[in-house]
Symmetry: C2
Subunit: 226 residues, 2 copies
C-alpha cells in the first residue's frame, strides 16, 4: 500500500534530500514504502540476518546495540522521532563489517523505505548519498564518544553520570531499573555495577531497594560524576 | 604544480570513481592536487585545526589515533599504500563530532586532493559520495572491532594477540618496542602493560630486555591469545 498524504509529507519534512529527488524517484518511494509498527521489546533489526531498509522513525524510541561473541551487550546509541536507522539497510554498504541490533524501547511507529529502493536512490543521487554520509558520520561520532568514555573515564564517574542523567529523565529523585539493565547500557558486568552501587550507597549518595534506586545526596553524586 | 602522468595514473588506478568523473572534474583534480611527503613522526592531520583534504597514500604507513582530555592516546587504525585519509577532509562533513590525529609511522608519500576540490566532487557526483560512504564504513568497522576488543576481550588476551601479530610482522622471534608504545596502541596505561609483560615473562612466554621483547614459547602465548 503506498504512503498516504500525511506519511508522504512527513518524509518530505524529515529527509533533507526529498526536494532534490526527481518526481519519478519520489513516486518510487511513495509507492514502495510502508508504515511499520513495533511494540516495546520488538526487534527492528538483528545484525546480518536482516536488511529491511531505511526506517524513518515517526514516534517512539529505538535502542541500537552490539553483542559480543559471549553474548554481552553494549548500547551504542538511541534513536528518536525523525531519526533514521541506516544500519537496517547496511547490506547495501559492503564495507560495514559489524553487526548492530535494534530494538524498540517503547511503542514505535516508522516508515520503512525498502533496501532495493533506497539502494537505487543512493547510487543515482549525490544528495541521497551525501545524506547517507551524514547519518553514518553522526553514528560514527556516537561510537567515538562511547569509546572515549569507556577508555578514559573510570567506571565510578560513568555510573554517577548515568544515574544523574536517568534521575533527571524521571522525576529527579528515583528510578526503576535493574543492575543488569545498567550493566548492559554501560557495557560492563552486572557484578561491577552492583559493587559500585553498594559503594555509592555506603557513601550515602543513593539508596537501593529491589528494582529501584533513590537519589540520597545529589551534591556528592555530582562530585563523583566530576 | 599539476600532477604528472604517473601521479594521475596512480589516482585513476586507486580511486574507483575516477572513470565516472567528467573530463572537467578530472582536470580539476589533476590541476589542483599535489604530492606531499612526510618523514616518520610527522603529522598529516591534527584534529579540528587541520582540514587539508583527501590524502591518497602512495607509499609508507600512517597511524590514526584519538587523544583523551587527559592526553592519553588510543590507536584507531593504520593506513597503508592505496588507502585514503578521509578524516583529513572531515571539516566538509559537519556530522563528524570527534577529532582524529594522523601521524606518519615511516617515510610516507601521498597525493593530496585539497578539501575545496574534494568537497565539490562529493556534492556533485554520486559515485564520489558513494566512495566516501565506503571509506567511512570501513573506518567505522575498524573502530567497532576495536570497541569490541576493549569491551569484551581481557587485557592478557589482547596483549598476547598484539605480540603475536607484531612478532609475525618482524622476524617472528623478537621485536623492538617500548611498553609505552604498546600501551598507546592498546589504549591502556604503561603500568598495565609492564605488569602483564612481567607476568608473561614469569610464565616463560616471552623474555624481556631493554626496548626488546623476545618470543620464548609461542604455543603458550597462542594459548593465552585464545
Amino acid at each position: 500500500m503506498p504512503l498516504d498524504r500525511r506519511e508522504r509529507d512527513f518524509l518530505e519534512d524529515t529527509l533533507p534530500f526529498w526536494k532534490k529527488l526527481t518526481p519519478e524517484q519520489q513516486r518510487s518511494v511513495v509507492n514502495g514504502s510502508g508504515e511499520r509498527r513495533f511494540a516495546p521489546g520488538e526487534m527492528l533489526h538483528r545484525g546480518a540476518v536482516d536488511c529491511a531498509g531505511l526506517y524513518v522513525i515517526e514516534s517512539g524510541q529505538v535502542r541500537a546495540y552490539s553483542i559480543s561473541e559471549t553474548g554481552r551487550e553494549i548500547t551504542l546509541f538511541h534513536l528518536f522521532e525523525r531519526d533514521v536507522c541506516i544500519f537496517s539497510a547496511s547490506c547495501m554498504m559492503k564495507d560495514i563489517r559489524f553487526s548492530i541490533y535494534m530494538q524498540a524501547s517503547e511503542d514505535t511507529r516508522t516508515i520503512l523505505i525498502p533496501t532495493p529502493i533506497f539502494r537505487q536512490l543512493n547510487q543515482d543521487s549525490a544528495a541521497v548519498s551525501n545524506y547517507t554520509n551524514s547519518i553514518l558520520s553522526s553514528r560514527f561520532s556516537d561510537v567515538m564518544w562511547l569509546l572515549d568514555q569507556i577508555l578514559f573515564t573510570s567506571m565510578d564517574k560513568r555510573l554517577a553520570q548515568y544515574l544523574l542523567g536517568h534521575f533527571d529523565e524521571n522525576d529527579g529523585t528515583a528510578l526503576q531499573t535493574t543492575h543488569d539493565e545498567i550493566a548492559r547500557d554501560l557495557g560492563t558486568a552486572r557484578e561491577v555495577v552492583s559493587r559500585m552501587l553498594k559503594y555509592f550507597q555506603s557513601e550515602s549518595m543513593v539508596k537501593l531497594s529491589r528494582g529501584r534506586i533513590e537519589l540520597a545526596d545529589r551534591k556528592k553524586l555530582e562530585n563523583t560524576a566530576g
